[in-house]
């Protein structure tokens, strides 16, 4: 089974102090540590496990700068066979649709049965690239995937729905699956893996290689533009609950549930 994984090199923002860039449209990333997008990390592990069980190859693709090589090396060290980086100054400012188009141009010429992407990216959280890419390729897709079982001509997938629901569906191959975190336990990078990864070449393709024009990519090709990005002011609210123990408990539970905390 030949599998393509689309990965993104993203800043780790969970514990960092975030500051807004002077353009007001993005965050400052100079001092942030970048790594493979958390969701993609699970997609990578799933792809490698599928390859180990069903043979074939895994190709990792990213749209990003040279710095994204460290994410691709990670993919290679953990078991991917090939890596492609799509890099061009003109790609900067592309929205999810353009990113999907760029990926589509390259992937349409590659042999594959399955494409795996993370369900979303940890930085912008659009959760669009996978879905748009599937549409451009004219293949079926499933999102929020938490289990994958390849069968003859199709894959059986479990999807995670809101409220603890799960659904099982069959998706005809070739297909694209956007995987959820927790779908597997990503392995550690081994030193042996690093040794192998360093011997492999990362293929780099530019705008010209991809076959799109400058107008079709970047901000000019995008359908969505970011108007403003800001850190919402912290609101401090205190509510004093009165009444009996049962009454207070019920209110607490209701409040927490209302905020989606339990």
């Amino acid at each position: 089974m030949n599998i393509i994984i689309c990965v993104k090199h993203v800043p780790e923002t969970a514990e960092a102090e975030i500051a807004i860039h002077s353009s007001g449209k993005k965050i400052k990333t100079e001092d942030l540590v970048f790594d493979i997008n958390e969701w993609d990390n699970y997609a990578l592990e799933e792809a490698v496990q599928l390859k180990e069980k069903h043979e074939g190859s895994v190709t990792a693709i990213t749209v990003g700068s040279e710095a994204a090589d460290s994410t691709l090396r990670k993919c290679l060290a953990r078991g991917a066979d090939k890596a492609i980086r799509l890099t061009d100054k003109a790609f900067e400012g592309s929205d999810s649709y353009v990113i999907a188009r760029i990926l589509h141009k390259v992937i349409q010429d590659l042999p594959f049965e399955l494409i795996l992407t993370g369900a979303q990216a940890g930085d912008d959280g659009y959760a669009q690239v996978g879905v748009v890419l599937a549409e451009l390729l004219g293949i079926p897709h499933a999102t929020m995937v938490k289990k994958v079982e390849p069968l003859k001509g199709f894959v059986k997938v479990n999807r995670e729905l809101e409220g603890g629901l799960e659904e099982i569906m069959e998706v005809k191959l070739p297909a694209l699956l956007a995987t959820q975190t927790g779908i597997n336990e990503p392995r550690y990078i081994s030193i042996m893996g690093i040794r192998k990864a360093m011997k492999k070449e990362i293929q780099v393709l530019s705008l010209k290689d991809v076959g799109l024009t400058e107008e079709e990519v970047g901000e000019s090709g995008s359908w969505i533009t970011v108007e403003k990005m800001f850190i919402p002011p912290v609101e401090k609210k205190a509510e004093i609950l009165t009444g009996g123990v049962d009454e207070i408990t019920t209110k607490v539970v209701e409040t927490l549930r209302g905020k989606g905390l339990i």
Binding site: Y188, I191, R195, A197, M198
Partner: protein
């Protein structure tokens, strides 16, 4: 001149960090610090991923990297936890290095691969109750009897002794020669050889998961083929081995200091006194700046020592400087980390006191700081300035 790690080295560093941050949990660190036991399961896991065999050639199951890459792993391990870190990195201490330099092909094939996979663990037995800094004479004596060597004596402060499968032991083989260090030889001894007894040492100040023991050797008979390298060259081999391990100790010290700094910095950002985070007070923030300065300089000289070693230009003076300097930095930085934590720093649950207790060993083992200074001054006297 180039101060940058290569992509490969950065990847190694990151991989080690990721492993340690997930595996060396604070709970596990506290648990093993308390029970003074070797974290065997963790060790095997690290070995399977290649972290414990960095500097051994691929043909013997190692990873084929140099001392610098080994140091990067050691630094990250000790940064996350000094006790577990030291324990995990010392499972393959010295023995393979000695065999690679002076062992026969048969000895290498027999001993090194199972050490690389983590199935076996080794120990290097040089120190004796009466000989620590001064190993120019050994009280452990090996005598030739027929086609066997018969060994009698005792060894002290031996890392991994209670569970090591293989030992390399420094013995006196010529009692008459002067100076006496020209009569020492290195031997490989397998666990279970009759006459070899091991006792665990308890109550160490720090690096408690790295278990230490004493050896007693009473008429231990080993085949002639267990001699490592040439007869009566053991002292020189030992010194040569220390040139490598001292760099590793410097890397341990850098890692410990870095871990303590990170904890102190995080604490100083969160802890509020007089209405503001204590990092706002220069009394605290300047401490942190100084800690960072010291660590960076210690790291630079440690990497330089490792780089020189890997280039085949090993410089005992730089190695001694790296070890003496980095270990002092580790002591200073971990001390200040406790001070920044105040009363909480004195508690085990805030971890920095453990970093301080562990840091002390880096000033002692593999040659005390005073011995390093002797090496430095001897080099200065010999070589002059260019």
């Amino acid at each position: 001149m180039n101060f940058e790690l290569t992509d490969e080295q950065t990847t190694i560093k990151k991989a080690a960090r990721e492993f340690c941050e997930k595996e060396f949990t604070p709970e596990l660190a506290l648990e093993f610090d308390e029970k003074e036991e070797f974290p065997m399961e963790l060790y095997r896991k690290a070995a399977k991923l290649g972290f414990t065999s960095m500097r051994f050639p691929e043909e013997y199951g190692g990873q084929g990297y140099g001392v610098l890459e080994d140091c990067l792993v050691t630094e990250e391990m000790c940064r996350v936890d000094p006790g577990l870190g030291v324990a995990v990195t010392l499972g393959t201490l010295m023995f393979p290095d000695g065999l690679l330099k002076h062992g026969t092909e048969e000895q290498r094939r027999r001993y090194i691969p199972p050490l690389c996979t983590g199935e076996k663990i080794c120990a290097a037995a040089f120190s004796e109750p009466e000989h620590g800094s001064d190993i120019t004479r050994m009280d452990t004596i090996a005598k030739k009897g027929g086609n066997k060597w018969v060994i009698n004596g005792s060894k002290e402060f031996i890392t991994n002794a209670p569970f090591a499968d293989f030992f390399c032991v420094l013995c006196q083989t010529d009692l008459k020669v002067t100076p006496s260090h020209r009569g020492e030889s290195l031997f490989a001894i397998d666990r279970g050889t009759p006459g070899l007894d091991v006792t665990k040492l308890n109550g160490k100040m720090g690096i408690k998961p790295c278990v230490t023991g004493s050896l007693s050797l009473s008429d231990v008979k080993i085949p002639e083929t267990n001699l490592i390298g040439e007869l009566n060259k053991g002292f020189y081999y030992a010194l040569e081995l220390f040139d490598g391990t001292r760099i590793a100790v410097a890397a341990e010290a850098v890692g410990m200091a870095q871990g303590a700094l990170e904890r102190a910095l995080n604490y100083a950002k969160e802890r509020k006194q007089f209405g503001s985070p204590i990092i706002q007070f220069q009394g605290v923030s300047f401490k942190l700046a100084e800690m960072a300065m010291k660590i960076e300089t210690a790291r630079l000289i440690t990497y330089k020592a490792a780089w020189l070693y890997d280039q085949g230009k090993m410089d005992p003076m730089i190695t001694a400087m790296a070890k003496a300097y980095a270990s002092r930095v580790a002591m200073d930085v971990t001390d200040e980390a406790i001070q920044i934590h105040g009363g909480y720093g004195y508690l085990a649950d805030y971890h920095v006191e453990r970093f301080h207790r562990c840091a002390k060993i880096t000033e002692i083992y593999e040659g005390t700081t005073e011995i390093q200074k002797l090496t430095i001054i001897r080099s200065l006297l010999k070589r002059g300035f260019s």
